[in-house]
């Protein structure tokens, strides 16, 4: 439905299209308001764009009521009711949930605050999120990240902020989220450098046959 406003026709209602910072090759379609690549890889090592997932940054007293309710300390993560809660800094959390759920997650967090001073901000659009999955995931990651990726130091659920290909990146060891029984890492960085990080990881994974894959937007990718 188009209408005249001034001298040109503009739509009566706009249909916004959201786009990830990461370009994955392949045919594209709009799913849940996001223009995404429909390419799905079944290679032994996959790098998929998970940017459409809702991301909420939370700040609160590291020893307060919300910290207690979230139950996740700095440098670890866990999954509850389909939401991945990451302890990304002292008194700082990142919550990752299904596409479009950011407002709902932020409200839930405020509900848990019990009078604490809490800030929950939707950073869905501010962060690029990607997932590296496969038997050789840690070997590929170890080419661009100096952190010890062994089970002893960074077991399932470990979360850390470090330099990946010289870019400040938050990494979560999240095999469970991949749901394939393989090692899997979620990596998120500033949206503006998402494509850079994606390409660096593809480059590092080349010797392991890494393939890019489009976003999983059904919420299962968190």
């Amino acid at each position: 439905m188009w209408t005249r406003k001034g001298c040109v026709c503009v739509p009566e209602t706009w249909t916004p299209v959201a786009r990830s910072a990461i370009t994955v090759p392949g045919p594209r379609s709009v799913v849940d308001g996001w223009e995404v690549s429909t390419r799905r890889s079944s290679a032994a090592l996959r790098l998929s764009d998970a940017s459409p997932l809702a991301k909420v940054s939370v700040r609160a007293d590291p020893d307060g009521a919300l910290a207690h309710a979230l139950g996740v300390r700095f440098r670890s993560s866990h999954r509850r009711d389909g939401i991945l809660v990451v302890g990304s800094g002292p008194g700082e959390w990142l919550l990752v949930g299904g596409v479009g759920a950011a407002h709902q997650i932020a409200e839930q967090v405020r509900g848990l605050a019990a009078g604490d001073f809490v800030t929950a901000i939707d950073v869905t659009h501010g962060r690029a999120l990607m997932r590296l999955t496969g038997r050789d995931a840690s070997r590929a990651l170890s080419k661009v990240c100096a952190v010890d990726l062994s089970d002893a130091v960074t077991p399932e659920g470990a979360a850390f902020r470090t330099s990946v290909a010289k870019l400040t990146t938050d990494v979560v060891r999240d095999d469970a989220g991949a749901g394939t029984g393989e090692p899997s890492y979620l990596l998120h960085c500033e949206r503006s450098s998402g494509q850079y990080l994606f390409e660096c990881l593809l480059d590092a994974g080349m010797e392991f046959g890494v393939e890019p894959s489009g976003p999983t937007v059904d919420g299962g990718g968190a």
Binding site: G6, P52, T119, D122, S192, S193, Y196
Partner: protein, 935 residues
């Protein structure tokens, strides 16, 4: 012509070559055939070639000596790659192999004339001769470069692919001979992760070429390694250095698509198991092609099935020499004489023109031969333990330097030939014990004991009665060492530096002991007194590409970058951000903003979400102006100064609701301001309830500017009254833009026009950008880039922090004195700014606008403003041609003496000529009253 394989032996047990896979390659312009599994050198030897290079100084023909990576005569050029170690590098089909450091050819090299005058080219000749007169150095350099070795690289070479890898492991074992293999297995069995690094292409060390019994022990050890998934094996790789806290550098070759990979290893325990390197013997003619070490002969026969000669003399002082003689006899070489060094037998010299032809014995007997094999002792490569703090000591019984055992941290251990001698079983037992100990130490346990591995008695044979080369890489002879000692260079470190012995590509692995032994002979001091030189990293050569690895330079782009690229934007690199500088014609873009409406992508603008009841306190602290009364729905411009009163950043902050603010910073200052705020909150004011969340990239930021911008906004904005009365200058609103919720828009005007800066959730940035262009088509909308924005803001007289200010510019010198509110309780920089206002105002520089008198003049930025006698009064900080006004416009930092409006100043241009300009009343050239932006 294909070289004939006349020297290829029938199949040998344990050979590495695959006779079903012949490979064709080129050597020195001719075609040759080798086998899969050959090294370049073994294939060439099999094809009848035995000269591979010319030596560094005297240009003497050189062939195989050790048949290992360090073989000094086997460095060649392969395709575009110089300095390939041809006795190590596996042959590949189609390789174009050429000799290097020859002129004009390998067969005839004019530099060989040096040999004729060799007695004048003694050690130090170069240092002494070419130092004077200094003005002739360019000429010397021209000639000397002909003599420098090192192959050729082309500027046309494509940059190779190199990368890095980080490894964290409990135990690193450097060397995979019998002791190293056993150590790796034992450490794995102790529950450790193990990295086993081997310089050769296969595991096994000398077991690979030492007969069937050794091979069966080797296959058992290899099976044990293969059965343990906790052992990672790297072959064709070398531990090049050990640094503090067991930071171990491993150079891995030809892996994962990379030419070389630097592996940065953090190891719990390092086990050094490098084995032994066979030491050459010093005698006249010891560098003739055809003179080889016993281990070279055994490698060539057993690994590559190459017959190293037809008629051999063997000088042996140990079991390996005996075994080499036996190998030669077995494959049909005529061994004409075996001399036993243990019984005091030796040789006098080797003779031949370009190749060995005869061996002269001490009694004068001359034996025609094309192969002379020596087995006169060993060098223990103590590099890694040396780097870990051990100073090796001379073991006179074994006639080699061995680890002292003192000075090593508990996390560095040694095993195998490096430590002592023994049967293969004893070496394996030692390796196993050391591996178990390494495992214990890596796991924090005390660990058990390790059996003794003593040095076996070995005759001390270094030099025959004649003089020969001690350093084949650098062409240093024993005579040079003796001469150096006579000149007073009588310590091992001095003689090394003066003669350059041990400083060539093989880095002392073959040369060190002979050099010290000859020095000992010349000085009469014992080898144990002289000591060995210090081995430093890297143990093996590393290419610069490998040290660099992948080139990681993070870049940042806005959500609209694809549109900019499709529309011909000329990129501007601003820090890490890639921004559109312009889309073809910046002045035209600027004019369009003044006349119609333009949009610019200002996503890099720093943005911080501030929340909490104490935000006003924070704003009052970090900004010089007042913030207590900022109403919901309003924005205010603020200036931040550091504690010294120097301007550090500026921007606007808007109050979105009671406890929620959005702060904008300069694009380059985003990270600094975030840290600045967190620093105050985390140190000085931990009690304040404020959270700072960086949201720079959460929003795509678009500035809509121009007289028609309201019209445009009305077409895309929903739920916000855009009338002047409802949404005035310096106000902020939240609403829906082109169907996108949660957008923030504020009315500010960096360009001096009516303008709206919108911050939309970044994923919708491109959607909103395209919607604006579509909706504004009939309004003459055009995108404009950073350059147009710079022109526009300069016309309006808006300063840019760090361009119109510098590291000394306090607020008053930036024309911002009026904003400084000294009646506030406190704020960052207050004491300095108070002093500045009270005592320094009269002398501090001022920011002024200048108009060149010549309307066509646009003085380059940084041009100086000078006095009549050339003294400096200031400088131009910003300068452009104004498309709106048709003349040059400038901002300048000037001395207060010339800051008064109407003053005419002289500007010195970089060309040296001067122009004049007038100081203006106001910083703004266009619309100083602000009518347009308040429209």
């Amino acid at each position: 012509m294909i070289g004939t394989a006349s020297r290829r032996l029938p199949a040998q047990t344990g050979e590495l070559v695959d006779r079903s896979r012949p490979l064709t390659f080129r050597w020195d312009g001719r075609d040759y055939e080798g086998l899969q599994g050959d090294t370049i050198v073994s294939a060439l030897l099999a094809g009848g070639v035995d000269v591979f290079s010319r030596s560094f100084k005297y240009s003497r023909p050189r062939g195989v000596l050790s048949a290992t990576f360090v073989d000094p005569g086997c460095t060649v050029q392969v395709d575009a790659e110089p300095n390939v170690r041809a006795a190590h590098r596996r042959l590949a089909a189609g390789m174009d192999v050429r000799p290097q450091n020859v002129w004009p050819s390998l067969r005839f090299d004019v530099k060989a004339a040096n040999g004729l005058v060799g007695r004048f080219l003694t050690a130090g000749f170069y240092y002494k001769t070419f130092i004077k007169p200094q003005r002739l150095w360019p000429a010397y350099q021209q000639v000397l470069s002909r003599f420098a070795s090192g192959g050729v690289t082309s500027r046309q070479n494509v940059h190779g692919y190199y990368d890095k890898r980080y490894v964290h492991v409990d135990v690193v074992v450097a060397g995979a001979g019998p002791a190293g293999l056993a150590a790796a297995v034992a450490a794995a069995d102790a529950g450790c992760s193990v990295l086993l690094v081997e310089e050769e292409y296969e595991l096994g060390g000398h077991l690979r070429y030492s007969g069937e019994a050794s091979l069966s022990m080797l296959s058992e050890l290899r099976a044990q390694v293969a059965a343990r998934p906790s052992i990672e094996v790297m072959t064709d790789s070398v531990v090049t250095g050990r640094y503090d806290d067991n930071w171990v550098a491993v150079m891995q070759r030809d892996v994962g698509g990379a030419i070389e990979r630097l592996v940065k290893v953090r190891a719990g325990v390092l086990v050094a198991a490098p084995g032994l390197i066979e030491r050459p013997y010093v005698f006249a003619g010891n560098d003739l092609p055809g003179v080889m070490l016993s281990t070279a002969v055994r490698r060539l026969i057993n690994l590559y099935a190459v017959k190293p000669g037809e008629r051999a003399v063997v000088l042996t002082a140990n079991a390996d020499g005996d075994a080499a003689a036996a190998d030669l006899t077995r494959v049909g070489v005529d061994v004409v004489r075996v001399l036993d060094g243990r019984a005091g037998e030796t040789i006098r010299r080797a003779t031949g023109r370009g190749r060995l032809q005869a061996v002269e014995l001490e009694d004068g007997t001359v034996l025609p031969a094309d192969l002379l094999v020596t087995a006169t002792g060993w060098t223990a490569p103590t590099s890694l333990i040396n780097m870990a703090g051990d100073r090796p000591v001379w073991n006179p019984t074994a006639a080699r330097f061995v680890p002292s055992g003192d000075g090593l941290p508990p996390t560095v251990l040694a095993t195998g030939g490096l430590v002592g001698d023994g049967s293969t079983e004893e070496l394996i037992a030692h390796g196993r014990a050391v591996g178990a100990l390494a495992g214990d130490r890596a796991e924090g346990r005390a660990g058990g004991s390790v059996p003794e591995l003593a040095g076996e008695p070995h005759p001390a044979m270094f030099r025959a009665s004649t003089h020969g080369f001690v350093d084949f890489s650098e062409d240093v002879s024993s005579k040079d060492v003796v001469a150096a000692a006579k000149e007073g260079y009588d310590s091992s470190e001095l003689v090394k530096r003066f003669t350059t012995a041990t400083m060539g590509p093989s880095q002392g692995k073959l040369e060190t002991i002979n050099t010290i032994a000859v020095l000992s002979e010349a000085t009469g001091r014992g080898i144990e007194d002289l000591g060995t030189t210090v081995w430093r990293p890297p143990y093996a050569p590393i290419s610069l590409g490998a040290l660099a690895g992948r080139v990681f330079e993070p870049t940042r782009v806005s959500p609209m970058q694809s549109w900019h690229e499709e529309h011909g934007a000329v990129p501007l690199l601003a820090g890490q951000w890639i921004r559109p500088d312009h889309y073809g014609a910046a002045a035209e873009e600027a004019r369009n903003v003044r006349e119609n409406v333009g949009i610019i992508d200002v996503t890099p603008l720093g943005k911080l979400a501030l929340s909490g009841p104490d935000v006003p306190k924070l704003l009052n602290l970090v900004y010089v102006n007042k913030w207590s009364k900022l109403a919901v729905g309003s924005v205010r411009y603020g200036v931040m100064c550091a504690e010294d009163g120097v301007v550090m950043d500026d921007g606007v902050t808007g109050r979105l609701d009671e406890h929620r603010y959005l702060m904008s910073t300069t694009s380059s200052g985003a990270a600094t301001v975030w840290e600045w705020l967190e620093n105050w909150l985390q140190t000085a004011h931990t009690d304040w309830q404020v959270h700072v969340t960086p949201v720079t990239t959460a929003y795509a930021s678009i500035n809509v500017a121009g007289p028609k911008s309201r019209q445009l906004m009305q077409r895309v904005v929903e739920g916000v009254d855009l009338s002047t009365e409802a949404f005035g200058y310096m106000k902020v609103r939240q609403g829906r833009i082109a169907g996108v919720d949660d957008c923030v828009m504020w009315r500010i005007g960096f360009t001096g026009e009516l303008s709206y800066e919108m911050h939309v959730p970044a994923s919708y940035g491109l959607h909103v950008w395209e919607a604006l262009l579509e909706a504004g088509d009939d309004l003459g909308i055009q995108a404009f880039g950073v350059e147009a924005q710079r022109i526009l803001r300069l016309e309006k007289g808006h300063l840019i922090v760090a361009q119109d200010t510098d590291g000394l510019t306090r607020a008053h010198s930036a024309g911002l004195g009026g904003m400084v509110k000294l009646d506030k309780d406190d704020f960052a920089g207050k004491p300095e700014l108070a002093w500045h206002e009270r005592d320094a105002l009269a002398t501090a520089p001022r920011l002024v606008a200048l108009q060149p008198e010549d309307p066509s003049a646009v003085p380059p930025e940084a041009s100086q403003i000078i006095t009549a006698d050339g003294g400096i009064l200031g400088r131009i900080t910003s300068s452009r041609m104004s498309p709106t006004l048709g003349h040059g416009i400038c901002l300048a930092q000037v001395d207060p003496a010339v800051a008064a409006p109407g003053t005419v100043v002289t500007i010195r241009l970089p060309s040296g000529s001067d122009i004049t300009a007038t100081v203006r009343e106001d910083l703004a050239f266009v619309d100083p009253e602000g009518v347009r932006l308040r429209a």
